[in-house]
């Protein structure tokens, strides 16, 4: 059995032929996969070392000072340890992450007041709390991509289900829910975020949920139209005449044929998610500090105009990410253009 229908196959081939979109897709995917491994790649603890013949994995396990000949039961300070000769004598095969930085650690021992300009230790400088900008950018990328992907999935599920049910049921259900959606759409989103954020903690998933609740509406309109159109196709009538259940008709017969608007909107919804999180963070209504985030970096940059490395690097990162996503969206839209489908 084939995974994709011929139609989908043809669209994938067309997408691959659009070089710009295809490469953007790979660049963004690879970047995201690497950012998911950021714990291993960007960290200020060794990934592995052996000490007195035993193996240690500081990134994944908790070790105390006493384990390495120190006095206290507090967590080992690996920065000091790695400069300690007694430790280095007994330790061997130390594997460190390629970027030896932690996005949350303040480098208060540096001279001058933060933010510090780019240097050999901090390639993109530090922010106003003396935290490494590069590390925060990478972790911020991971956060905002994960956030947007989750948000997009949530939007897709809500939009498909609600729009689909509206279109499939039609009649009074459609009419009433359409009016309710119009009321819902007119709620001021930012105030709701502020209010909910002041009552509950603004966690990652809470923010995804709130944003999703306000962003599915656009997609539901498309899905409603698709379902209204497709439910009168003959093959749906045949399916009804054959006695298939409504759920089966909904998911197996209508939905796969009505997914074009979802797929073409997804990359743009990703862009929307990134921008939304960044602007919320910029305004201070987003993720709780000290979570690394691009919006927070931007607001720091605004407060520290004399430290352009914060703003410039963040804006560049944001620009490249959004551009890649837009290229992908453009390609997907082109690939799914019905004018390209042969009969």
């Amino acid at each position: 059995m084939r995974i994709f229908s011929d139609l989908t196959q043809a669209r994938l081939v067309r997408f691959r032929k659009m070089r710009r979109a295809y490469y953007s897709f790979w660049v963004l995917s690879v970047a995201y996969i690497f950012s998911l491994l950021a714990t291993l790649l960007v960290n200020d603890r060794p990934i592995y070392f052996s000490y007195q013949g035993e193996s240690y994995f500081p990134i994944f396990c908790h070790y105390t000072e006493q384990d390495f000949g120190g006095q206290y039961l507090t967590e080992a300070n690996y920065n000091n340890l790695l400069q300690n000769e007694h430790f280095l004598d007994k330790a061997s095969s130390i594997i460190s992450p390629p970027i030896y930085q932690n996005p949350l650690r303040s480098h208060l021992y540096l001279e001058d007041a933060p933010p510090h300009a780019p240097s050999w230790d901090h390639w993109l400088g530090t922010d106003e709390s003396a935290r490494d900008v590069l590390a925060r950018l990478i972790y911020g990328f991971r956060n905002c991509m994960s956030f947007s992907l989750l948000l997009t999935i949530a939007i897709a599920i809500l939009g498909i289900l609600i729009g689909g049910i509206q279109g499939y049921a039609g009649g009074l259900t459609d009419l009433i829910s359409q009016r309710l959606i119009e009321i819902w759409a007119s709620l001021p989103f930012l105030y709701v975020v502020i209010i909910i954020g002041s009552i509950y903690e603004r966690g990652f998933f809470m923010l995804v949920a709130i944003l999703a609740l306000f962003s599915w509406i656009g997609l539901s309109y498309y899905m409603r139209a698709e379902f209204l159109k497709l439910k009168n196709m003959n093959y749906i009538r045949v399916a009804r005449a054959l006695g298939l259940s409504k759920t089966r008709i909904f998911f197996k017969h209508i939905l796969p044929n009505g997914l074009t608007p979802v797929v073409t909107l997804l990359p743009f919804s990703l862009i929307g998610g990134i921008s939304a999180l960044t602007s919320l963070d910029f305004l201070g209504f987003g993720l709780n500090p000290p979570t690394p985030s691009w919006g927070e970096l931007l607001s720091q940059g605004l407060k520290n105009l004399h430290a352009p490395w914060i703003t410039v690097s963040t804006v560049c990162a944001l620009f490249i990410t959004l551009m890649l996503a837009a290229f992908i969206g453009e390609g997907v839209r082109e690939a799914f253009d019905p004018k390209g489908d042969e009969k």
């Binding site: 229908s5 011929d6 139609l7 009419l175 093959y235 045949v238 009804r240 005449a241 006695g243």
Partner: protein, 318 residues
């Protein structure tokens, strides 16, 4: 002969909604009191011009279009026309094939998936035997079993229509409603499909309700004909009698309008406006276009005629 399907006074309207709360403002009276019956093993046709409600009637007879009033019975058992479950019980016996073979197959399913779905649903055969059964069905409609892994877009219109026939054939229905099944096809392919259908009818003991506007096709295959005009049956009877001695002026007009190669016999075209189906006249709906119109035509004509051939007209032809 036992009547397989009996429909009495079927009405099916389309709502026209408007205003702030979408209140029903008027109706399109697509099917406006049609009675018909199909006997076991019989081929019955419904003919009429576009917009006369014949396709809506076909949908209504399968419960795919809401029936406003009227009664239906299948194999002597009456159907509760407003109850979904009541219809679900009939699905195995009553099937439909549509006009447009291009939209009748789900473009995202292979032929195998499309054909096996109803078989599994109705428990016709086991999962392990599905492939053989689908192959057998394709052979029945004179297609190669190897084609089952292809998608609909790689087939021609005639082949698709064969696949649609195979799909309903699989669940061994008793009655198939054929809604203009050949009108989207080339004439040569039309003949093949009709021949196939007649052959399958004999071998599977099917009854067919044939909906068409094509009089030549209807005459070639059916034993009995219903002529519809604006939601009502205007004349019914055995096909030979209807073709040789039409009683209703509309039937006559339909026969006269068939184009022929004989240049001396020009087709006679109807004149006058077709009344709007939202605002039907109280009397005979055909009166506005009828040559034989009289004062009586302001009233709805009653059924008259013999048992074999009956008509609804005040001024029948001789």
């Amino acid at each position: 002969m036992m009547n397989l399907l009996e429909a009495h006074d079927i009405e099916s309207y389309f709502d026209i909604r408007g205003g702030l709360f979408g209140r029903i403002q008027s109706y399109v009276k697509a099917v406006n009191g049609v009675s018909l019956n199909v006997g076991e093993g019989e081929i019955v046709s419904v003919v009429g011009e576009s917009g006369c409600g014949k396709s809506t009637l076909g949908l209504a007879l399968l419960g795919l279009q809401k029936i406003r009033s009227g009664s239906l019975s299948f194999q002597g058992e009456s159907i509760n026309v407003n109850d979904f479950k009541s219809w679900q019980g009939l699905r195995k016996d009553l099937q439909i094939i549509f006009q447009d073979p291009y939209t009748s197959l789900n473009p995202r399913l292979t032929i195998y998936e499309s054909l096996s779905e109803p078989l599994l649903l109705h428990g016709i055969c086991k999962k392990s035997e599905l492939k053989d059964k689908v192959g057998y069905l394709l052979e029945q409609v004179e297609l190669k079993p190897e084609m089952m892994d292809r998608f609909p877009h790689s087939f021609s219109g005639g082949q698709r229509q064969r696949i649609c026939i195979a799909r309903v054939l699989g669940i061994e229905p008793k009655l198939i409603v054929c809604d203009e099944i050949v009108s989207a096809l080339d004439v040569s392919v039309q003949a093949q499909i009709l021949e196939l259908l007649l052959k399958l009818k004999e071998s599977h003991n099917l009854s067919l309700l044939f909906i068409s506007h094509d009089l030549a096709v209807v005459r070639a295959i059916s034993r009995r004909i219903y002529v519809m005009y604006l939601g009502r049956v205007v004349e019914e009877g055995p096909s030979e009698m209807l073709f040789h001695q039409p009683k209703h002026p509309y039937t006559k007009a339909l026969l006269d309008s068939i184009p022929t190669l004989d240049r001396s016999r020009r087709p006679v075209l109807l004149e006058g406006e077709v009344p709007s189906p939202t605002n039907l006249p109280t009397g005979c709906a055909f009166a506005s276009r009828c040559k034989y119109k009289s004062e009586k035509c302001g009233e709805l004509p009653q059924r008259s005629g013999l048992d074999d051939q009956s008509y609804y007209c005040h001024n029948p032809l001789n």
